[in-house]
């Protein structure tokens, strides 16, 4: 089942075109990786899918209905988005921030509390539940924000279909927590939630993404699994770097080494 479909979508929120002719569809349980050089339109693509930017051409459908026709509250039950930077500077406690992810849902205090408890354990934020968000380190804040967006789309029964959009979710995380978060994203996908994420670490992306979309100057230049997309030619043309594509010794997935 297709969760979100973009049909020849272009967007130009501030005049010049940011994205042109984006065309793909994302199925339930699928993980899509978005890569491209700085300024290629990766974050804009996520905001476009989230409904924060309106398309100038083409159509976006979420669960079969045009995205623009979704009421804001219903859309928020089906879709969550983690932006790149958080501007929160009010002294919320960590558990209060994560609880905000349950705002769109009317699932009751008990359900919310158990989801909160589960996610704080899974994101390793339980021991800081009482601390103030404003006093956390960058990586700790990132895990709290992740827990918040996960809480929004965690339960299958909250929406007819779910979509999670992540802009650099591994930002600021140490290796152990990167692994933890990637595992969480994969687990969420296996429950039927579609995931689209921007990550700069190609090897990490090859490991987790079912398909990869390559953006360059707002255009979709490639779409396919990492085997097909990760070629020396792609990296040369899009990123202007020479790479060697090896094999991951354990997973057998492509391993990108910059030369």
């Amino acid at each position: 089942m297709s969760v979100i479909t973009l049909s020849n979508v272009s967007a130009a929120p501030w005049g010049p075109a940011l994205l042109q002719d984006i065309d793909f569809s994302l199925d339930a349980g699928e993980i899509l990786g978005i890569i491209g050089p700085n300024g290629a339109g990766k974050s804009s693509l996520l905001h476009l899918m989230a409904g924060g930017i309106d398309p100038t051409h083409g159509e976006i459908t979420l669960l079969g209905n045009p995205l623009s026709s979704w009421p804001a509250d219903e859309r928020a039950r089906a879709m969550a988005m983690l932006p790149q930077q958080s501007t929160l500077n009010f002294p919320y406690r960590v558990d209060e921030v994560i609880q905000l992810g349950r705002n769109p849902h009317a699932s009751g205090a008990n359900t919310d509390r158990s989801i909160l408890q589960e996610l704080m354990e899974l994101t390793d934020t339980l021991q800081m539940a009482d601390r103030l968000y404003t006093q956390l380190s960058g990586g700790e804040k990132q895990r709290v924000q992740l827990a918040r967006v996960l809480a929004q789309v965690w339960r299958k029964e909250d929406a007819p279909g779910r979509l999670l959009l992540l802009d650099e979710p591994s930002n600021g995380l140490d290796l152990a927590h990167q692994k933890l978060v990637l595992g969480l994203i994969r687990d969420l996908a296996t429950t039927g939630c579609a995931v689209a994420l921007v990550v700069h670490d190609f090897n990490l992306l090859a490991d987790i993404a079912d398909r990869v979309i390559v953006l360059d100057q707002g255009k979709q230049v490639q779409l396919g699994d990492s085997e097909k997309v990760f070629t020396p030619a792609t990296f040369e043309n899009v990123f202007g770097v020479k790479v060697h594509i090896g094999r991951h010794p354990v997973s057998g997935k492509p391993l990108v080494v910059q030369l």
């Binding site: 929120p13 409904g51 924060g52 804001a72 509250d73 988005m81 929160l88 103030l132």
Partner: protein
């Protein structure tokens, strides 16, 4: 000072406030130039309510002090809750209703009313006209600021703050020009009105304050969940299902009506809208579901006490209550600024 992360339980704060507010009102009605002790005040209040208020004490309590205390409580509650809502909307703990131009616009409206009415109008009609001028001025200022900040892509909070500063400056300049043309009597009325005062309290004003104030105090908490999400940032709030345009315009209009009415009835009273939400946030955290009602209670408490001080400190002369709130508020606010690291405000 409160250490990092430690909060006072919300329940105990509400308990203290809901005992403290009636207590402060009782202190307020039993303080004044006419010497009536607390027992006497309660008895006189009873007489007044039961309708056999013929004696002097019950007239003083019922007709002079009680409306003033009620007005102070309502105005304090409206100002503090509006301040808390504005700070949430602007995601700026230092925001104040005066930032979006309400106070300056209301001041201008009142000054125009004072100068235009000249010496022809006096008494109740004059006071009502000044109040109306303040209310209209405040509302107009906010509408202009809101229009300036709203484009096809939505309302920019940053632009709104800047537009608020511009409108405040413009309204201030026009007010100064008016003062240039005003005679001595008008000047004195303008400056007294500006300092803020509850001395015009009567039951007509109490009725107006309770009606409009009541609507504001009921309407603002309905935005608590939206304000909580807004603290995360605008796009985060949108992705949490908040209809930003509806929330922003709703909050702005309600605050303009509330603050405009307060300014119209009691003049400009500074720092209640800034300091009270700040203290409450320090005590119970930024969750607006508790912060908004707690700010309202604490604002009422503060203004009732401040007005009592204003009445008795230099008796028989009265200080404008705005002077008292500023004298108490500014040092407190400066100490908050110096200690902001202690409670996680950056």
């Amino acid at each position: 000072m409160i250490s990092a992360g430690k909060r006072v339980s919300t329940g105990s704060v509400f308990l203290v406030l809901s005992i403290g507010l009636p207590l402060s009102m009782l202190i307020a009605i039993s303080s004044g130039i006419a010497d009536i002790d607390t027992i006497g005040a309660i008895k006189a209040l009873g007489d007044f309510i039961l309708g056999d208020g013929g004696n002097q004490a019950s007239v003083i309590i019922g007709k002079i002090r009680l409306p003033r205390v009620i007005l102070a409580a309502v105005v304090g509650a409206v100002l503090a809750m509006s301040g808390a809502a504005m700070q949430g909307l602007f995601r700026n703990p230092l925001a104040d209703p005066s930032l979006i131009g309400v106070t300056a616009g209301a001041s201008l409206g009142a000054s125009i009313a004072i100068v235009a009415s000249g010496s022809t109008l006096s008494g109740l009609l004059g006071v009502s006209l000044v109040s109306l001028g303040a209310f209209v001025g405040g509302l107009l200022a906010v509408i202009v600021v809101f229009r300036l900040a709203t484009s096809a892509s939505g309302t920019s909070v940053a632009t709104m703050l800047l537009a608020g500063i511009a409108i405040t400056a413009l309204a201030g300049a026009v007010t100064n020009m008016l003062e240039f043309y005003a005679d001595n009597a008008m000047l004195r009325r303008i400056s007294l009105w500006r300092m803020g005062g509850l001395d015009g309290a009567n039951y007509q004003r109490v009725m107006v304050a309770c009606t409009i104030g009541g609507v504001v105090l009921v309407a603002l908490p309905r935005y608590a969940a939206a304000l909580n999400a807004l603290l995360l940032g605008e796009s985060e709030a949108r992705y949490l299902g908040i209809d930003l345009h509806r929330v922003k315009s709703g909050l702005i209009v309600i605050v303009a009506v509330g603050v405009g009415t307060s300014v119209a009835l009691a003049g400009t009273i500074g720092f209640v809208g800034l300091v009270v939400p700040h203290i409450m946030r320090m005590l119970i955290g930024p969750d607006h579901r508790a912060l908004l009602p707690a700010s309202a209670l604490a604002g009422a408490l503060l203004l009732v006490l401040a007005d009592t001080v204003a009445r008795v400190a230099l008796a028989p002369t009265e200080l404008p209550v705005g002077v008292v709130t500023a004298l108490v508020g500014v040092p407190f606010f400066i100490s908050l600024l110096r200690q902001r690291g202690h409670y996680g405000m950056q």
